[in-house]
């Protein structure tokens, strides 16, 4: 059997106030190109880097959340290469001794099982600018022609690079691993986790091993994967490509390939021989990064309960199915909302059902997070109350829910306003049924001659008349009585 052996190299932009080594704002989204810059981050002669506290704190949080061993003393190094978006001609990174090493995360595979993926290292580095190749569909295609424009706004934004061990055994697991990492980072507000915007980036290493004879292909690196879905797609493509070659007895070259969005394939970027020599050496402008026991303790206390542990707790404490627990735990706001709502309603399962179904659908449709809506746990409690006491039907509840989310008005008020309270008055229902009977005597005859299925016609007619507010069980009972006894 052929099996994938996958490791990920993840770059997460840290949500710091300032850039890593200067005091420029790190929030550059929507800024005019080349405006969020200063002499330091544009590499003017004579400038020097100053490491910001925010960068240390957020990367330390990530390292602790990924169960890493923290190096009390780590160092900065320079990675040297020429590229138009790299103003200094080198990137400040941590090569020889990173901030943190030897961690792990547990990734849920969705079938009740988990895969432990070991983290090799987490280190701090600075982002480069953005290169825009004019008139080219992809960087690979425009390497040697076309104009190149550079935006240095992103230059110097801090990144945490997270490198996993090759513990991942399928493209799907790779996607799940990325999602798990995203969830953890977002939980702590360390990174926005948005892959489409490039706030979170993934390069993947893949080789294929034949489990029968233990033979392994060369390792291929896939770069520029810009969505969670494409992590899986790109690796599926690579797995197939490599497997096919192995089955045919062809050699796989050790190379770097890029995910090509347009063709949904990977394209060769460079082979091993073409790799640059980055000439790493210690960064003389920055002293060692000393992390005190005190800072570690303080940071550890600021780390919230992580999604994986929360999922386990939701299963145990609220009796939710694994899938629901995973979805609700994946987002900190959503899980906080759930816990507060479940406390108010006293019905965790129903609360979860509503959130999993209606709420998540509405959020997706409107492209909002729960915090961006006016929905409060009190609304959920009110809604479940109305349903429980039979005051509104579940269809009507679904109908008004979007209004509750967008307006923040209590469900009972909206139901009242719209006259949606369920009709449970037998007299009123009887009037409606009689009307239907006199409107269609033929159906009455049919029923009485034994065609009991016609009952649904009368129920339907009543529901229509009361715009669905009638309690179906009462309608059923009254219709039966009238049809059979008169």
């Amino acid at each position: 059997m052929l099996q994938a052996v996958i490791g990920l190299e993840i770059h997460a932009q840290l949500l710091t106030v300032t850039k890593a080594f200067c005091s420029c704002s790190a929030e550059t989204f929507g800024e005019t190109v080349n405006s969020a810059v200063c002499p330091v981050c544009t590499g003017q002669p004579g400038t020097l880097p100053i490491l910001g506290n925010g960068t240390v704190k957020l990367s330390l949080m990530a390292a602790l959340a990924f169960n890493c061993r923290i190096n009390r003393r780590s160092f900065f190094d320079r990675k040297n290469y020429f590229y138009p978006d790299l103003p200094k001609g080198y990137q400040i990174t941590q090569y020889f001794r990173p901030l943190a090493e030897q961690g792990f995360i547990d990734v849920r595979l969705g079938n009740g099982q988990k895969r432990r993926v070991r983290i090799n290292r987490i280190h701090i580095e600075e982002d480069a600018g953005k290169t825009i190749h004019e008139g080219a569909s992809s960087i690979a295609a425009s390497r040697d022609r076309g104009g190149t424009l550079v935006d240095l706004n992103r230059c110097g934004i801090p990144l945490a690079e997270i490198v996993t061990e090759p513990d991942i055994t399928s493209p799907r697991e790779a996607r799940l691993t990325m999602e798990t990492i995203r969830d953890i980072l977002r939980y702590m507000s360390v990174c926005s986790g948005d892959m489409e915007k490039g706030d979170l980036r993934c390069d993947a290493n893949i080789s294929v091993v034949d489990t029968e004879d233990g033979k392994s292909s060369q390792r291929v690196e896939v770069k520029n994967i810009n969505s969670f879905r494409f992590v899986e797609k790109a690796l599926e493509f690579e797995f197939e490509r490599i497997s096919e070659a192995m089955r045919k007895g062809h050699q796989i070259t050790k190379e770097t390939r890029t995910w090509d969005f347009a063709s949904r394939t990977t394209i060769s970027m460079r082979t091993k021989e073409e790799e640059s020599d980055y000439r790493y050496f210690p960064e003389p402008d920055l002293p060692p990064l000393e992390v005190s026991e005190n800072l570690i303790d303080k940071t550890r206390r600021e780390i919230p309960e992580m999604p994986d542990r929360k999922t386990d707790r939701f299963i145990a404490e609220y009796g939710l199915p694994e899938h629901d627990s995973t979805v609700l735990s994946a987002d900190r706001e959503l899980s906080d909302f759930f816990e507060r709502a479940a406390g108010l309603t006293g019905k965790p399962k129903e609360t979860a059902n509503w959130m999993m179904g209606e709420l998540i659908r509405i959020l997706k449709e409107q492209g909002l997070t729960i915090g961006q809506t006016l929905l409060k746990p009190e609304h959920m409690a009110d809604l479940l109350d109305l349903l429980d006491s039979g005051k509104i039907s579940s269809n009507n509840a679904k109908e008004i829910f979007p209004d509750v989310v967008t307006t923040g008005v209590m469900p009972s008020e909206i139901a009242e306003e719209k006259g949606l309270h369920q009709v449970d008055d037998e007299a009123e229902i009887e009037v409606a049924i009689r009307e239907a009977m006199s409107a269609n005597p033929k159906a009455v005859d049919q029923y009485r001659s034994g065609k009991k299925g016609v009952l649904s016609y009368f129920i339907g007619a009543v529901m229509k008349k009361t715009r669905g507010r009638a309690d179906p069980s009462i309608v059923n009972e009254v219709a039966r009585r009238l049809l059979e006894n008169e």
Partner: protein, 474 residues
């Protein structure tokens, strides 16, 4: 100009704060600079100074420090038209103290050299003999101070670039402990070795300047805390009872000129007469300092100079694509010595050779640190000639290795980050000879204390100031 004004120390000059001192100096620079080419650029009029201890006192800085209103060329074609976008920390501090920046001084391209012959702005000459080099790479600053075109100037010292030209031009030169003076705004050559310091006509003036430019800087993470206060006390020149180490490796170096050796031994004799205890010691790793320096400095330089590629600032050679732009800009923009060192550094940092060269150099650097700290556990000072020769004739030396070896006595202080001063100790055939004092880390003031003591017994000084060569004192 009133000749007496350069018979005064900075503190006395500052007392004459009302004097239109700056105009006198500007006139002097305008008329005399063409003979020595010390300046790359100077002002013809100055702004109003701030109120401070150096009010109205003109000064110059080496052309690798950034100052708004000036270009910062680093003696290179690649930065020939580069306008400084900000002030270096040292400039900011001096301006705040009332000093007036009058100009930028010439240097070997990117501070890579020991003669100030390798600048796109031409050769800077030695005021004591204009056929001779001024030393380097801060040759322009040394020459300007020596000819009294400014009362003081700043230089930068990576392997001796303040002390060696100070020695060859007969001025005081001081390189502080690494981290005492902010490098923010100093165009980097070799970041772990570079340090800014003053060139002055007496030791007291060097202390005055240090008391203004020293101190922690939030823009330079390698600056040390609490260093400015070191320089606020009065100098305490004393020799009696102090212990001095003279490394035999230095005296045995075959490139040491006899007359320089003799003048050094003459000063050693004077120190003994004053009650100093002078011993010869062995510091084996001193033999390797030049080799270690030429592995570490070019490696750092190859990275520091990568930013000059023609895309954002400085000289740019229009090319069809980025790779060609980088290649052509650097080919035409850098001089031979700079290219030699970039190639050397690129080679020694390459992954195949990193262990064999760069990594080994770091180990020897640590060994040197240890040997020197062992010496300083027994001695107050390490003393030796600043430079093994007197200033050579312009164009006389063509082999880069001979230049490299001229720094053999100054490099150790950079590799170990130690404070070191060069004080003129005598003249040989009317050319100055420098005496170097090296102290333990953070003992900058103690080094200046001894420098002041040497100054007081040096036959070179007149009325407590380095004399101005005859041609310039008229």
């Amino acid at each position: 100009m009133d000749n007496r004004s350069f018979r005064k120390k900075l503190e006395q000059l500052a007392e004459d704060a009302g004097n239109p001192l700056d105009r006198d100096y500007l006139e002097r620079i305008r008329s005399l600079n063409p003979e020595i080419n010390a300046f790359t650029e100077y002002k013809t009029a100055l702004e109003n100074p701030s109120n401070g201890p150096l009010k109205n006192i003109p000064f110059a800085v080496k052309d690798n420090m950034h100052a708004v209103g000036f270009r910062t060329t680093c003696g290179s074609r690649i930065l020939q038209d580069y306008e400084s976008p900000y002030d270096a920390t040292v400039i900011r501090r001096l301006k705040k103290a009332g000093a007036l920046l009058v100009g930028k001084t010439n240097m070997d391209e990117f501070a890579m050299g020991s003669s100030t012959e390798h600048s796109v702005q031409g050769v800077t000459k030695n005021p004591w003999d204009t056929e001779r080099i001024s030393g380097g790479s801060s040759g322009g600053s040394a020459s300007a101070v020596s000819a009294a075109l400014v009362p003081f100037a700043l230089g930068s010292d990576t392997g001796g670039s303040i002390r060696q030209p100070a020695a060859l031009c007969g001025t005081v030169g001081f390189k502080p402990t690494y981290g005492v003076v902010s490098r923010f705004g100093l165009t980097a050559f070799a970041s772990s070795l570079d340090q800014i310091g003053p060139l002055t006509r007496c030791v007291e003036d060097a202390r005055t300047i240090m008391s203004i430019i020293a101190g922690e800087d939030s823009r330079d993470a390698t600056t040390l805390k609490g260093t400015r206060s070191l320089f606020l006390r009065k100098l305490e020149p004393s020799i009696a009872g102090k212990k001095f180490a003279v490394p035999i490796e230095i005296l045995e170096y075959e490139g040491l000129e006899k007359r320089v050796y003799d003048s050094f031994m003459d000063m050693v004799e004077r120190i003994r007469q004053e009650g100093g205890i002078v011993d010869e010691v062995s510091i084996p790793s001193v033999k390797y300092v030049v080799a270690v320096y030429y592995l570490i400095a070019p490696a750092e330089a190859s990275s520091n100079l990568a930013r000059y590629e023609g895309a954002r600032f400085g000289f740019s050679d229009p090319s069809p694509n980025y790779a060609a732009l980088v290649k052509h800009t650097r080919e035409k923009g850098f001089g031979e010595e700079v290219k030699r060192r970039i190639l050397l550094g690129t080679f020694t940092l390459s992954s195949a050779y990193y262990e064999a060269y760069y990594s080994k150099a770091l180990r020897v650097r640590r060994l040197l640190n240890k040997e020197l700290s062992d010496i300083f556990s027994q001695y107050n000072y390490l003393i030796n000639p600043t430079c093994p020769v007197i200033a050579p004739k312009i164009g006389e030396i063509t082999d880069p290795l001979v230049f490299y070896l001229m720094d053999i006595y100054t490099i150790a202080a950079n590799l170990s980050g130690l404070p070191a001063a060069s004080v003129p100790s005598c003249s040989v055939n009317k050319m100055p000879v420098g005496f170097q004092i090296v102290g333990p880390r953070m003992k900058d003031m103690e080094v200046l204390d001894l420098a002041a003591a040497v100054e007081s017994i040096s036959p070179f000084f007149e009325h407590g100031l380095a004399p101005i060569p005859e041609r310039w004192s008229a």
